[in-house]
Symmetry: C2
């Protein structure tokens, strides 16, 4: 069905075998586990699963860059937290105010503009912004093995979705170009928006209020809300993905649940149970207990990052 | 490109011509209005646009039937409004309590069960329930000209979505069989849900609270939230669709906005500005002012209802 080298960045071994075996089972017309193409739904977490997430979620890097860019229009930020610390380069100090501080940064950087303006802003940022350590554009820090997996599943009739805790409009802006996933197949956290009829025409204005958080137990709810059917396959890397994998596993017939495990301090990062970002603890235990696939970055991937997309 | 008889239930005339001309413009590779297939998004209201909506929205008929079916388990409903009047067949009396009464009926009929149980309930209802006047199953009261339009647009590379004020999970249950529109292409009003890990596995429980109303200004917001890009074409029939058509019209290049106008008292119904259900007033004025297409049921459609779907 599929060429034998559809996943060349994956080393031969149990993980790759469990992927290929799952796809063979649900696509074999004569088999007991055959699933019609219209039902072949695969969901992928984004941060830490399709692209990197260290030393901080890239959307937070975007928010910080926005605050810096907007600072000249907000002279009061020089003395007002959480902006003052942030503008001095002291992220920890800025975020010391907890959720309220983070919410202020997100509101200042993500709200008060139309959806069209927000998309333009994100698009410009992805073209310019570089990762501080890896010195590449953020959208180049996507995982080659996962790109192959997306393509492999699509070649086998799957519809691929992103189910992210990140902002849905942030990810949608570049997901089609980078992953081949169209906007309508991105599920994520959602902010409130307001429809306004301006003299120039109707607009949707982004409000500084979160409407739906697509993380942890929010992921099955987000899947049900946006997609409306249970996935056959789910891919994650942190405890925030646990409920999504449980929800996927609870369906009948063949299912594939996979966690990306950060075990590669040399080429990327090594972290799991004690990490602030992308903490993987309970989900790792459950994967071991339930026999879900765990992709060890060090052992299962012979390539980490994809080639830069054509500019 | 398309066979000349792709819309046989539409009479020749301005309305049909505006549809065919629009499709020709956006699909002609050499033309200035060409749009890549991935961007060809068409959105359809459901109630009164794809299926009938008189004498009451069919989802309300479902809610009433559910209250009747559940009554034996709720003996207190015999003396408690809004249920008491409803069970005596007095719908107006039941709804005299206004929004609060309607909310109680919806909560009693739509909440307190898992998403799987709700889908089963809706599926059984669509198999059994019949329209009181037209004596056919509700899912048979879909419009043949609109089914042809859905197929015609899909044959020309469009992705067709429903954008309904009705409950997204209610419509998703049967939209694929009836319209060929998969669950993930249905946008609608959303209730709150709660993820629970039960001994038998994870479930999503429907809570008696509305989370998002996909009507009027909620329709552009719903389109942005679920689909993430502006439609090229939008189809509605009431003032609840006005903002969706405005939002669609505000995009660049060729666009198609169309209202179904109930002008056929003999074969279906005739109503517009004074109707409680499907009121069409401001949107009709704006359609005339802006030159949007208006499909007069009486003049533009030579067939109304589709043949019953294969059972």
């Amino acid at each position: 069905m599929s060429p034998p080298d559809a996943l060349p960045s994956w080393n031969e071994g149990n993980t790759k075998r469990s992927i290929v075996e799952f796809v063979r089972r649900v696509t074999a017309h004569s088999g007991a586990d055959f699933v019609a193409p219209s039902q072949r739904i695969a969901v992928f977490d984004n941060d830490g699963c399709l692209w990197a997430e260290q030393p901080m979620y890239f959307q937070l890097a975007f928010a910080i860059d926005r605050v810096k860019a907007l600072a000249p229009q907000h002279p009061d930020w020089k003395t007002k937290e959480p902006f003052a610390s942030l503008l001095k380069g002291d992220l920890n100090g800025s975020l010391a105010g907890g959720e309220h501080a983070a919410a202020e940064i997100v509101a200042a950087s993500h709200a008060g503009m139309t959806t069209d303006e927000f998309q333009r802003t994100v698009r410009e940022w992805t073209r310019r912004a570089h990762h501080p350590k890896l010195k590449r554009r953020y959208v180049e820090l996507v995982y080659q093995p996962m790109l192959e997996l997306l393509r492999y599943l699509r070649a086998n009739g799957f519809k691929t979705f992103i189910v992210t805790g990140g902002g849905v409009e942030f990810v949608r802006t570049w997901a089609e170009e980078v992953y081949g996933i169209p906007p309508e197949q991105v599920v994520g956290s959602v902010g409130k928006q307001q429809f306004e009829l301006r003299r120039t025409g109707p607009v949707l204005v982004r409000l500084p209020a979160v409407d739906f958080v697509d993380d942890k137990a929010g992921k099955p709810a987000g899947i049900q809300r946006f997609i409306g059917r249970r996935p056959l396959a789910a891919f994650g890397n942190s405890d925030g993905d646990l409920e999504m994998l449980q929800w996927t596993a609870a369906g009948e017939g063949a299912r594939l649940m996979l966690l990306v495990h950060y075990t590669d301090a040399r080429r990327e990062w090594a972290y799991d149970r004690d990490s602030q970002v992308g903490k993987l603890d309970k989900a790792l235990d459950e994967a071991h207990a339930k026999g879900w696939a765990v992709a060890s970055m060090k052992d299962d991937w012979n390539t980490i990052f994809a080639n830069p997309p054509r500019a």
